[in-house]
């Protein structure tokens, strides 16, 4: 029997929860909810995006229950504030050599430094392999918002990886 999207749902859940046991629970509940609300799934529409939407709602439900503030209800405020902070980061340095020397675990560590709305979209697109449109469907926001968060999220990710590379001593300060 093929649970077609299981691996990718699990990988995204793992990065969103940062905890194996919780990721497993979330994925299992996602399939169960999908099964129960199957009659609401319109045939021919995107099953993968539908499953991710259910999983994200499930996570939000859990986080709310645990009164964690990791998931922010309204990232729009953040978009304004963060946009200024990003000004110096976007674009990156094309000469960066550190990409060759990123250590195992660095990417996860860097992902964890991203503000949630950025992390969420970077994980959906770059880990989950969703298109901009699918990610917008899952996050309930327009394609343009997906793009702006994704690009800024990636720029921040690069910056964080650059910092780690300097810590590891692969790249000298100022390089």
């Amino acid at each position: 029997m093929a649970l077609v999207h299981l691996d990718v749902l699990y990988q995204v859940a793992l990065r969103w929860t940062r905890n194996r046991a919780e990721a497993e629970d979330v994925v299992q509940d996602t399939y169960l909810r999908a099964f129960r609300s199957f009659h609401r799934f319109a045939a021919g529409t995107n099953c993968r995006a539908w499953l991710f939407t259910i999983m994200r709602n499930e996570l939000r439900r859990r986080f709310r229950k645990q009164a964690r503030e990791v998931l922010q209800e309204d990232p729009e405020d953040l978009d304004d504030v963060e946009a200024r902070a990003d000004a110096g980061v976007v674009g990156g340095n094309p000469e960066e050599e550190f990409l060759q020397s990123v250590l195992h675990g660095d990417v996860d560590r860097a992902l964890n430094t991203l503000p949630h709305p950025f992390q969420e979209v970077v994980v959906l697109v770059d880990v989950g392999g969703l298109t901009y449109q699918e990610a917008g469907h899952v996050l309930g926001c327009p394609r343009g918002t997906v793009m702006s968060r994704l690009f800024r999220g990636r720029a921040r990710l690069r910056a964080a990886l650059g910092r780690f590379a300097r810590e590891h001593g692969y790249v000298k300060e100022g390089e």
Partner: protein, 260 residues
């Protein structure tokens, strides 16, 4: 196009999100602009780095747990009200609906009707209009969706009308009639079609001088035919004799109504 204008397109370009025309514009620019070409190369490399990250597959144990859980759920759903799928096939069939979405992309119409038969039967109130009054149900479809629906009376065969609901099939409004014989559910669909656009599925069966298509899908029997304007599809666990008799009665009733 200058670099500033193009920058906004470079990420979507690397992500394969541009149209062919937009891609050509980016490529044309990058052939002449070293800075933008370098940006694209660097973004490509970064994306590959993200994709190269070791990824854990879901543990086999989790996979097994989910499948077992869904099976239990399917059996429970099947036991709730109607026998709408063969008991033995119930779990696997229902689970397969969720688990094989790629196959759902554009299934033949009759397969889509089987999916709906299964999905609706699990709803708390599958009939939007619960009524055993044939005329009332027909009128409801007319008012609600402008569909001219024939609601045959199967009560002489012990098959009771439960009600109707609007369904979508092949991305258009269709009529869905629910009947029950004891605990066995019979679904009757009427889908507006033009000509023979709906891909026929099944083997030809002659019954009282008329031809029908008989097709089995996941343990369910279907009988369908197309009069050039409407595709009629019956889905049930009832045997073919009963289904063909119901089909024949619907056909006759339909012809009688059209003549009026």
């Amino acid at each position: 196009m200058n670099c500033a204008e193009l920058r906004a397109s470079l990420h979507p370009y690397v992500d394969g999100e541009l149209t062919v025309g937009e891609m050509a514009a980016v490529e044309g620019h990058c052939a002449e602009c070293r800075a933008c070409a370098e940006f694209v190369r660097s973004e490509h490399e970064f994306r590959q780095l993200l994709r190269r990250q070791p990824r854990e597959g879901a543990p086999a144990e989790l996979r097994g747990r989910i499948v077992r859980r869904l099976r239990r759920e399917a059996v429970a759903a099947a036991a709730r009200r109607w026998a709408f799928v063969p008991a033995a096939a119930a779990a696997a069939a229902l689970v397969a609906v969720i688990l094989m979405p790629s196959y759902r992309s554009a299934p033949p119409l009759v397969v889509e009707l089987v999916d709906k038969h299964i999905a609706y039967a699990q709803m708390e109130r599958p009939a939007e209009l619960a009524s055993s009054d044939n005329a009332q149900v027909a009128e409801w479809f007319r008012d609600r969706a402008g569909l001219y629906v024939t609601v045959p009376d199967y009560s002489p065969s012990g098959i009771r009308l439960v009600g109707g609901r609007l369904a979508d099939a092949h991305e258009r409004k269709a009529a869905y009639l629910l009947y029950e014989k004891g605990r066995t559910l019979l679904s009757v669909f009427m889908v507006p079609v033009s000509g023979n656009e709906a891909e026929p599925r099944g083997r030809r069966v002659a019954y009282r001088g008329h031809e029908y298509l008989a097709y089995e899908e996941r343990g369910l029997r279907t009988v369908s035919w197309n009069d050039g304007r409407t595709l009629y599809g019956l889905v049930s666990m009832l045997d073919y004799d009963a289904l063909l008799e119901c089909a024949e009665r619907l056909r006759l009733e339909r012809v009688r109504q059209t003549r009026l």
